[in-house]
């Protein structure tokens, strides 16, 4: 049951003010996005149409704390098929960014390791300008597991066979231990300071 007194009438404007969220109100609830989504075979509760309707109604807290936000593949199938050009893939990205800010502020809890991963990825770019796999893994796993030791164990478990396989093919050698850096690191720093998540 929807508790009307708990609805946030400003939520749709909040989403539409985020880049990617602009087309929210064009949705007419046809469900093409949901029926064509490849994730629903694995996560039956996943329903972008419902997320949009709840957003339009102002169910801010329910939308932002929905763990299904974080299983979107950004594969653009919904965006390509939407008859109303809602750009659902970008829209969900906008909602995820609001959710992430709320989680950072301690207002909600996100039941997914994806924000941790995305941030760890961005930290590599801010520091080196390119993806540094080893640095990413060293930040992501301990944060996901809640301790350095558990993180290292989880990383070993995921990477022992894979690492050996890549090593044998000459794709992961001593060179992979060190980051590949862009020369103009000052500009990377500026980009993330000006545009990055604060």
């Amino acid at each position: 049951m929807i508790k009307t007194w708990e609805l946030d009438p400003n939520f749709k404007e909040e989403i539409m003010n985020e880049r990617g969220g602009e087309h929210l109100t064009a949705c007419f609830q046809c469900s093409t996005c949901t029926l064509g989504c490849p994730i629903i075979d694995y996560v039956p509760s996943y329903n972008p149409r419902k997320i949009i309707q709840m957003s339009l109604l102002g169910m801010r807290k329910e939308v932002l704390s929905n763990p299904d936000l974080w299983v979107c593949l950004i594969c653009q199938t919904c965006t390509a098929r939407c008859p109303q050009d809602v750009r659902i893939s970008d829209l969900l990205g906008a909602i995820r960014r609001i959710a992430d800010k709320e989680a950072e502020a301690g207002n909600i809890k996100i039941d997914s390791s994806r924000p941790i991963f995305d941030k760890a990825f961005q930290h590599q770019l801010a520091k080196y300008g390119r993806l540094y796999d080893m640095g990413l893994a060293k930040e992501y796993y301990p944060k996901r597991e809640g301790s350095f030791f558990k993180g290292m164990m989880a990383m070993m478990n995921d990477y022992k066979d894979f690492g050996m396989r890549m090593f044998k093919k000459g794709k992961m050698g001593p060179k992979a231990m060190f980051p590949e850096k862009v020369k103009d690191l000052a500009v990377m720093k500026k980009i993330f300071e000006e545009m990055g998540e604060k």
């Binding site: 299983v71 594969c75 991963f117 770019l125 993806l131 396989r165 500026k190 980009i191 000006e194």
Partner: protein, 288 residues
């Protein structure tokens, strides 16, 4: 043929998991007489992990500005890099305010919208053209191929260069090389699961498995693809998928640039065919 020189954007996996894609892209363009000039000191496009579009635009404004100074269009073998570069290009071209904001960060981001970013497949099929490619082919590929397009070739509409439901640029190229396309239309544009590999590997593995299994049931000798994240999932991780899901697949996965290289008569090692995780020897035996 009008293309003689392009700026080359290799992308982050080019010196690691997708080495063979980088090697084969360079070798193929050389053979075709197209000079590639690497985007000097390029930075990461933001991949799928940078969700803020403005941050993506700023990151790619720098890459685009570097190529623009050379007066060259950018070509990249990675579908995600292509999507990020070209959507940034479109957004920056259309929005003066955005361009000014991005330029305000640093003069290195001063991009004037004079170039385009392109995917290698688009350049092969639509710029160089099948006729020109055919005239340079010296080998026939007696292969049954499952052409896998993934996400960013036919989607989203602004940057797509092929059909969202039934893309055929790779099909045409494979048939031109003598290959046979196996029934694979339902899998062609289905996501490989890559973006969830690190956070929901259970789902990602199942998704990749579906693609691999369909190719196998269809009797394919190999899957052809055009994105290093798809390559990571379907090739590099194939043994992990077999182990986790208790299945045996053993399906060779190659980049379209590697197949094209073979048809152009380039040496297999120069195309990095010894670097694909699943052995490609059986494929090489069918190139005549």
């Amino acid at each position: 043929m009008s293309v003689t020189k392009l700026a080359y954007y290799p992308g982050c996996p080019s010196d690691a998991t997708a080495m063979e894609q980088d090697m084969s892209t360079k070798a193929v363009f050389e053979k075709l007489g197209v000079e590639l000039v690497e985007v000097e000191d390029w930075n990461c496009c933001g991949a799928a992990e940078v969700e803020d579009p403005e941050l993506v635009y700023a990151l790619n404004a720098r890459n685009l500005a570097i190529a623009e100074k050379e007066g060259l269009d950018i070509v990249t073998p990675c579908s995600i890099c292509y999507y990020n570069l070209e959507r940034s290009n479109i957004a920056l071209k259309a929005d003066d305010e955005l361009r000014a904001k991005v330029k305000g960060i640093d003069s290195a981001l001063d991009y004037n919208g004079k170039i385009k970013a392109k995917h290698v497949l688009d350049v092969f099929v639509n710029d160089i053209g099948l006729e020109e490619l055919s005239s340079k082919m010296s080998k026939k590929l007696n292969l049954k191929v499952a052409p896998y397009y993934g996400c960013y070739i036919g989607r989203p509409p602004e940057t797509a260069f092929d059909d969202p439901d039934d893309p055929d640029s790779m099909d045409k190229l494979i048939e031109l090389m003598g290959g046979e396309i196996v029934p694979f239309s339902q899998m062609k544009t289905l996501c490989c699961g890559g973006p969830l590999m690190m956070t929901r590997s259970d789902i990602a593995f199942e998704m990749a498995m579906k693609i691999l299994d369909t190719a196998k049931s269809a009797g394919a000798d190999c899957i052809a693809l055009a994105c290093p994240l798809c390559g990571m999932m379907l090739d590099c991780k194939q043994a992990d998928i077999e182990k986790a899901l208790h299945v045996e697949i053993d399906m060779p996965v190659v980049y379209i640039t590697q197949l094209l290289g073979l048809a152009l008569g380039i040496d297999a090692n120069e195309l990095g065919l010894n670097k694909n995780a699943v052995d490609t020897k059986d494929i090489l035996g069918k190139v005549v």
